[in-house]
Subunit: 231 residues, 2 copies
DNA sequence: CCCTCGCAAACATCTGATGAAATGCCAGCA
DNA sequence: TGCTGGCATTTCATCAGATGTTTGCGAGGG
């Protein structure tokens, strides 16, 4: 086990033991390096790694603090790494996304407030303008697509589910997804399916919301190029 | 953006651009530091972070290599970070786990080979001996529990789903889960439910497998202490 | 009471040096 | 020829020291 790993493990252990709690400030580099019996260089490597993992964050001139340790924060670095995946893995990722978002749609249908339903409605209404354009403003359409799915995830009442969906269907991943979709008229079809999902949400019908979301995302999977399609 | 972040982004970009492919060796520290216009110290911090994220791995005296970038490898660091979660977040995590494993059970029922079914059977047969003990060997029971769920995940045909389940239901998380379960006779009930899941798998009945798995994990969630139970 | 300036603390970065591990080469031997 | 053992080189691991940058805070003046 390298020195750096010992640093990571040491800090992790301090948090688990309760010696460090969210929001707490870590000892200064010199002291902590002394405590963990490593040089400042090795200490910094470990702290930096935890910083990228979202466990701590440092501010120059101030100090290093334990973050809130929210699921959203701890799961977000996954997105950085997910788009390193080969295009061939996209179907597998999307299948998992479908499972997660289907569950989210069902939960949201039961839990969304009237205000949240209105928010989703407002997002969909923006699409009308975009689709009128010729050619369609693709980037804006993607932004709206993301926003619609995000508002659903935000009202599941499950922050872990929400954070996971954000990782699997966030901006970078979604951009890649749309890059490989070439089907004609896909924007219109997507919008129609979003409308169907919205109706299920507005009707507070979890079963319908699940089916509509699953159908929507299965349709996307059908449009994904299979591995055999590649040269 | 700090120097280290530039290193992380630079290497990530090299992989995305295809300048680095899985298995490739990175330039030596001095050269890479020179290319990215940072000192060796900063470079090492960035490389170390990517190493902990599972993107590269370094061997002293040899060099630094891009990993296979398998989903399993890239998702595994999540487990390191998941057990930093407060016990209060456990229900949310477990709900997601239930969704993932329910899907896995359905997929596995369709795809498991006869050999895989036999493997699952063998795992369950071990339980009989363990339950005969008094007191029950808890650690061994947990190991078998993990092995049973893992063999199901391994036969979904979806490596992303498998890796995600491993993160959400791996050894460390599971150990914590069992630590907060106090229900009397829970081992026996768990075993009975595992048997029911196995019968559905052996019958190649996806719907039954889904229901049995969901029921099994919902039962676990019922046994989780609610937030209000805490002092 | 409020604002500004300067000092001290803390992280950010760089440089040079030394240690440890893996690899490759090659001489020596069977 | 083929193998084996050790030596030199390469490369990462770690340390120590020095300097730059940013932040926070308090003293002092308006």
């Amino acid at each position: 086990m390298s020195r750096t790993d010992e640093v990571v493990d040491g800090i992790r252990r301090m948090i688990l033991d309760g010696r460090l709690r969210p929001g707490d400030r870590l000892p200064v580099e010199k002291d902590l390096a002394d405590t963990l019996q490593v040089s400042r260089g090795s200490l910094r490597e470990g702290v930096r790694a935890l910083s990228i993992l979202g466990v701590v964050h440092t501010r120059q001139g101030d100090g290093t603090y334990v973050t809130s340790l929210d699921p959203a924060r701890l799961l977000s670095p996954m997105a950085l790494v997910l788009d390193l995946q080969d295009d061939g893995a996209m179907p597998a990722f999307h299948s998992v996304r479908r499972v997660l978002e289907t569950e989210a749609a069902g939960l949201a249908a039961s839990r969304m407030s009237d205000a949240a339903v209105a928010e989703a409605r407002a997002i969909l209404d923006q699409v009308t303008d975009v689709l009128r354009g010729s050619p369609v403003d693709h980037d804006t359409f993607i932004e709206i697509d993301i926003a619609f799915h995000r508002v659903i995830a935000a009202h599941t009442g499950n922050p872990v589910l929400e954070a996971l969906i954000e990782s699997f269907a966030g901006r970078t991943v979604r951009a890649r997804l749309w890059r490989v979709l070439h089907t004609e008229g896909i924007e219109e079809r997507t919008h129609d399916e979003h409308e169907a999902i919205w109706r299920a949400l507005a009707a507070r019908d979890p079963e319908a919301a699940r089916i509509r979301m699953a159908s929507h995302l299965l349709g996307v999977e059908d449009s994904l190029p299979r591995r055999n399609d590649l040269p």
